[in-house]
């Protein structure tokens, strides 16, 4: 496999709890992805610009602050503005059930709560990219 899948893991918003994001970043690396970790307190502009420079296939957003309904659409919009509408967007964190559907309708490919196992995330990524699961 020559072509490596590149994933940006970012934490938008103001909460500083990055343990989950770091665990996911490591798990995805161990699944064979090239993971670009950007750290906490990222604005939607910063995330979209990093996604562009790194030419990633996937953007994973970790949000624990409850601001997902405000932050996710702004990231998606910024990505579109930069011509990155094909990028697969995933959301992880504590997301109430009623918001999950809304996020999926916005174009998010998967929403993952606490305790999600890595294979589930990998499967979502591979499916969204139209690849055969490894």
């Amino acid at each position: 496999m020559d072509r490596k899948v590149r994933v940006l893991v970012a934490k938008p918003g103001l909460d500083g709890h990055d343990r989950g994001a770091k665990i996911i970043a490591r798990a995805l690396r161990d699944s064979g992805y090239e993971v670009i970790y950007t750290g906490i307190r990222q604005t939607p502009d910063m995330i979209a610009e990093a996604a562009l420079q790194e030419d990633v296939d996937v953007v994973g957003l970790s949000i624990l602050s409850g601001a997902h309904m405000a932050l996710v659409p702004r990231v998606i919009e910024k990505l579109k503005e930069l011509g990155m509408e094909d990028v697969v967007v995933l959301v992880g964190g504590i997301i109430p059930d009623e918001d999950v559907q809304a996020l999926l309708e916005m174009g998010v490919a998967g929403v993952f709560g606490p305790g999600t196992l890595t294979p589930e995330i990998v499967e979502t990524i591979e499916k969204a990219l139209g690849r055969q699961p490894v």
Binding site: Y33, E34, I36, Y37, G39, L82
Partner: protein, 342 residues
């Protein structure tokens, strides 16, 4: 933006020339993934490169390289120069994945259109990494960045190879990383044009600086103190007045987190750039690099060509014979080459 076709060589290079960052990012991906467009893209962009000054920053993990690159790029931006950054981290040999975390320390540079940061994984390719890095440097160069900074993890041989792609190599050290003298590997001393002792607010910084200066045999005082089995010993150095003229690597103290010393580092890099230009060193380095590059590409090309023409079964049989010690590998190689050329 949508009216440019970013799927063709023509579209990509035209957009790249106009400063389209998406195009730049796509071109780098093509090269990293060695797609069908990689070769024609390199061919189209190569003539436009050669203007940037290329700076390598290397050192052991934990010395604060990323933070220093962040601060240094900030100084360059204040001077009105644009900066392309390539941050290289190792690929995991087990999963083939990589965790590229240098951007965390470079957040000050976010949102600045004069900065472009690309994280690269080593992807396990031995000699190939140096070539892929050189190619990506060339792309950033062709895209018009004034300075290109390559940050590498200073473990193993790769940083020496990558340093050959840089005009100025900054080796970053930090106090308190174990025995100062032992921590400084032989190869790294030879590639350093400038030393930055980062985290200079920490204890032991002067010892690290002194250890470096001693190893460099700088124009030092006659009497020197070194640590030997925990005791200070006086050492007499030979007369160093008449060293041959050339560049003497300066040893600088920096505190990347506060930016202290980064302007001096900037000055040292720019002085080294001028030194290379005035002494003819830059032309020399360019020629050396071209020679190495050509040989490396030739070697890879010939290998690929030969293997493509070789029957997989024949190769397999030879491998088996060598493994069983029925044939030595040198004879096996000769057989392979001659069979294919007869």
């Amino acid at each position: 933006m949508t009216d440019i076709d970013l799927n063709t060589v023509e579209g990509l290079t035209t957009a790249l020339e106009k400063g389209n960052r998406r195009a730049l990012a796509r071109v780098i991906s093509h090269i990293e993934n060695n797609t069908d467009l990689a070769m024609p893209l390199l061919a189209a962009l190569y003539p436009r490169s050669g203007k940037a000054h290329i700076i390598g920053v290397t050192g052991a993990p934990g010395t604060g390289k990323s933070t220093l690159v962040n601060a240094l790029a900030g100084v360059y931006r204040q001077q009105g120069l644009t900066v392309g950054i390539i941050a290289i981290d190792p690929t995991s040999p087990f999963s083939g994945g990589a965790l590229l975390g240098d951007r965390v320390r470079m957040r000050d540079l976010a949102g600045d259109p004069g900065v472009f940061i690309r994280s690269m994984a080593t992807r396990g390719s031995l000699g190939g990494l140096a070539q892929a890095t050189a190619d990506v440097i060339m792309v950033l160069d062709a895209a018009g960045f004034d300075r290109i900074i390559i940050e590498t993890v200073g473990v193993g041989q790769s940083e020496v190879e990558i340093a050959s792609a840089a005009y100025t190599t900054v080796v970053v050290e930090a106090p308190g990383l174990g025995d100062e003298v032992q921590a400084i590997k032989a190869g790294i001393l030879e590639i350093a044009d400038i030393f930055a002792v980062n985290k200079a607010d920490r204890e032991g910084v002067d010892r690290t600086v002194m250890a470096l200066k001693m190893m460099l045999n700088l124009g030092a005082p006659e009497k020197f103190q070194i640590m030997h089995h925990g005791r200070m010993l006086p050492v007499h150095l030979p007369d160093l007045e008449h060293l041959p003229e050339g560049w003497t690597p300066p040893v600088l103290k920096t505190i990347a987190t506060s930016g202290e010393g980064t302007e001096a580092l900037f000055d040292a890099i720019e002085n080294h750039r001028l030194y290379l230009e005035q002494s003819g060193g830059r032309i020399l380095r360019d020629r050396l690099r071209a020679a190495t590059e050509l040989r490396m590409i030739l070697r890879d090309y010939l290998l690929e060509e030969l293997l493509a023409r070789t029957d997989a079964n024949v190769l397999e049989a030879l491998v088996e014979a060598v493994a069983r010690r029925e044939l030595d590998p040198y004879t096996a190689v000769r057989q392979l080459v001659h069979e294919n050329n007869d």
